[in-house]
Symmetry: C2
Subunit: 304 residues, 2 copies
């Protein structure tokens, strides 16, 4: 197996200035694996749902080559549910409901045949669960990437730092990088975070693009300016899925290849926001991806 | 004459988390012309100061090849004064004092030998003054660029739109672009602003870089992530000066050349913020500029 991802598979109710979508499919592992499925057919997820999760959605994921042996279905229980409302500018949102449901006592079990995966993506979850997944791997993956959020910095910084120490790339947004490091300058934040363990850091800045830091290198990929941002939910996870899918496909963890992975991740995220839920990730064609990657290339190209 | 710029030459008192600078040299035309002086010696400014403005500062500007025939010195009056305090994140600031002084009844007079300049930069001032300067030009410059601010959108939108209609490039920040167009998406904002007259639009996004829009083209130059931002005052004007200086030096207004001008503008702005006032613009060497332009090139380069 090339890529294993852990994260939620869930329901979302989302309100944006453009409309409302009730009880639609969401969850970090859903977005990550669907985005990665455009690059690799050698992937599996580790997650948990209740028996309310639609069988046809799981069948669709399988059809896209996603191994679901690590997805536990708990009879008589409900899937994780999140409801949020975006403000007019789409850059901030309020969480209205968080029902942990099956997530409350989630004990991740990585199936034996996934434990030698080359690449591991830890979607946002409690740092303890993320660490458990790392420990279950038979041999250390070539690259471990990790997402997290400010909530864990507020309530579980110690456990969070323990997990961060074990990973190769941390993928967080600019606010989170500032909170985690205590530094406002992202250059200084990157230096501080390298010291915590990760050799690489991706700072996601939404409509302002993404930064990739290695100890002595830096890459800045702007986001494609879009006429319409319909629903930002899942954009960060879709970025991570595109990034790790591209790494899994190519096998290289050189800085040059990671730069390409950032571009593919940004490309996938730019599609994600065009429709509610995973809608756009279901209709996407390979030709659309390569066309948009060329747009990225054109967007930043200059000759001095 | 190649480039004429109109704008304030003034005093600032600035407080940042790093310190305080009292009654230091500032003003849009000061930053614009000093930045442009690294690219062209064929430039002049149109402005006004009181007799309190230090003769040695004017002598320094002259030494850098800036023609001051259009700078009126009003005996017995005081120069324009602005005081501001930056918040901890350096992305926002409060204006503490605005003393118009000589600016209150400023009537710009473009000297005869500057009236056939090829390039005109209108720094932020009342839209009426900006329009007067355009009208004084003997023949229509090849390129007219204009800066403005949200204040004029609040109190003089009609006059502002009259001036905007006459210019080729509008250079404003993202908030201003949104307010002027009524569109949140910058792609839509650009479309709306093109309809107001300007064929080109530069949207300055501070630490997130700058966007250049033509009717059917787009270019995104990220800002160089910096370890230290000491004082952001004048960064936008320095960007404009670097941009127009480069255009004046090269003479071309093709989209390809404007992209390079954005990179040179961003480069100059990245130096500006390293010290209070015009400090860094006084010590800068040509070799430092070309080294940093290469850093920009490296920052965004990728091969798909």
């Amino acid at each position: 197996m090339s890529l294993v991802s852990v994260g939620t598979v869930a329901f979302d109710t989302i309100e944006t200035p453009f409309g409302k979508a009730e009880m639609v499919v969401g969850g970090a592992a859903t977005y990550i694996s669907l985005a990665a499925s455009y690059f690799t057919k050698e992937q599996g997820i580790v997650s948990v749902v209740g028996d309310d999760f639609p069988a046809e959605e799981l069948a669709y994921m399988k059809k896209r080559g996603i191994n679901l042996d690590g997805l536990e279905i708990k009879e008589g229980e409900k899937s994780f549910f999140w409801a949020g409302k975006y403000h007019d500018n789409m850059n901030s949102r309020d969480t209205l409901v968080t029902d942990l449901n099956v997530l409350a006592d989630f004990k991740p079990k990585v199936p034996m045949h996934l434990r030698n995966a080359k690449f591991l993506m830890l979607g946002n979850l409690t740092p303890e669960i993320q660490l458990k997944v790392i420990k279950q791997m038979k041999k250390r993956p070539k690259l471990i990437a990790m997402d997290t959020m400010n909530f864990w910095m507020d309530v579980a910084m110690k456990a969070l730092k323990r997990t961060i120490k074990q990973v190769d790339i941390l993928m967080i947004n600019d606010e989170e990088a500032r909170q985690l490091s205590g530094e406002y300058s992202l250059v200084k934040a990157a230096k501080a975070i390298h010291k915590m363990g990760p050799k690489f850091l991706v700072i996601k800045k939404g409509e302002h693009g993404a930064l990739l830091f290695a100890s002595n290198k830096m890459f800045y990929a702007p986001a494609l300016p879009l006429a319409e941002v319909f629903d930002p939910t899942g954009a960060g996870d879709t970025f991570a899925g595109g990034f790790m899918g591209y790494i899994a496909k190519t096998g290289s963890t050189s800085f040059e290849n990671m730069k390409r992975a950032v571009i593919y991740g940004s490309t996938m995220a730019s599609f994600c926001v065009e429709e509610f839920s995973i809608g756009r990730l279901k209709t996407l064609k390979a030709s659309e991806i390569s066309r948009r990657v060329k747009q990225f290339d054109k967007l930043v190209a200059f000759n001095i």
